[in-house]
């Protein structure tokens, strides 16, 4: 299975023009799974991640693993290309771990800050792992150029609450809400596991 290359996801006019399936390389999936396993040092959640670089042929790989900093709730990527790595930062990958004190919740999708970061840094691809589930956003020309970080951070957390009040579980609420957020920001949204993610917005 050939993995998705940069030219398949860059400069898309609309989310409907995004590939139906994002295909990840085996090497990237191994790296993502390894970072997921490393997301519970000493039994405590700690986000892990890295930067997605494209090489001159459009192949997407993970570099700058560990980023600049991370803690149980955040990951600060290092977008600067390094010698021997890809030539251009096109996105990020990070994990959303919840440990025993957080009920080992998995399947939690993106946050508003994840979206604001991607938009404001001009990134094309945002990948996330939470347990076995993978999530992705792909930017299009309908996406805004800038978003107010703090407001976006707040808005999308608050907007999950009505789902919870209807009895929907927290992870499911996060996933449902991110579909709505994708529509709001002209993003294509994907969910999946292993090497393939399926576009769920637009379906």
């Amino acid at each position: 299975m050939a993995s998705t290359r940069l030219d398949e996801i860059e400069g898309l006019a609309t989310p409907a023009g995004a590939p139906r399936t994002l295909r990840l390389s085996a090497a990237n999936v191994r790296a993502f799974q390894s970072l997921w396993r490393q997301s519970f040092p000493g039994g405590h959640s700690r986000e892990r991640g890295g930067t997605l670089f494209a090489d001159s042929e459009g192949r997407i790989g993970l570099g700058n693993i560990a980023g600049i900093a991370s803690d149980s709730n955040s990951f600060k990527p290092d977008l600067a290309p390094k010698p021997g790595g890809g030539t251009r930062a096109i996105g990020t990958f990070h994990t959303h771990p919840y440990d025993a004190t957080e009920n080992w919740v998995t399947g939690v999708s993106f946050s508003g800050a994840d979206i604001a970061y991607m938009i404001n840094k001009g990134l094309i691809l945002n990948l996330l792992q939470s347990g076995p589930r993978l999530f992705a956003f792909v930017r299009t020309r309908l996406s805004p150029r800038q978003l107010p970080y703090a407001e976006t951070h707040a808005k999308h957390a608050l907007e999950i609450t009505p789902y919870l009040m209807r009895g929907i579980t927290y992870p499911q609420a996060s996933r449902m809400h991110m579909q709505a957020a994708a529509a709001m920001y002209g993003l294509a949204y994907y969910q999946g596991s292993g090497r393939a993610l399926t576009r769920v917005h637009p379906a």
């Binding site: 986000e47 991640g49 600049i68 900093a69 803690d71 149980s72 709730n73 955040s74 990951f75 600060k76 990527p77 990020t92 990070h94 959303h96 919840y98 004190t101 957080e102 009920n103 919740v105 939690v108 946050s111 508003g112 800050a113 994840d114 604001a116 970061y117 404001n120 107010p148 970080y149 703090a150 407001e151 951070h153 707040a154 999308h156 957390a157 608050l158 999950i160 609450t161 919870l164 927290y170 996060s174």
Partner: protein, 122 residues
């Protein structure tokens, strides 16, 4: 155990706890104010919360943690980070609503510790 009504945050207060910024200017500190200004209050809230947790008084711990989160406001925000702490607070709030006060308090404690660290408060 459900949190007594008197300790449930109002919607506005909860917005302030959640993220601090851009939510309700009337109850939030102006952006860009130094973290240094809130060190004593945040440190006191964290200490009081830790003591309340130790004695199993989760409603008191939550009150202190919510106060600490409101006090730190948006000072912690780093636009170069992918910050999921507001999501964790929504999760904590949902646990609190369901009466799982210990879990809610522990999650809020960790979020406040992380925000304090991002603000340079040890």
């Amino acid at each position: 155990m459900r949190l007594p009504a008197s300790t449930r945050p109002s919607r506005l207060a909860w917005l302030a706890v959640l993220v601090g910024a851009g939510v309700s200017a009337s109850i939030l500190p102006p952006p860009g104010r130094s973290c240094r200004l809130v060190v004593p209050a945040v440190t006191a809230a964290r200490t009081a919360a830790a003591n309340a947790l130790k004695r199993g008084d989760y409603p008191a711990a939550i009150r202190q943690l919510d106060h600490g989160l409101r006090t730190i406001g948006d000072r912690y925000i780093d636009q170069d980070a992918m910050d999921d702490s507001a999501m964790k607070l929504v999760f904590a709030q949902d646990e609190q609503r369901k009466g799982r006060l210990q879990r809610a308090a522990v999650i809020k404690q960790r979020v406040l510790a992380a925000r304090a660290a991002m603000c340079g408060i040890g």
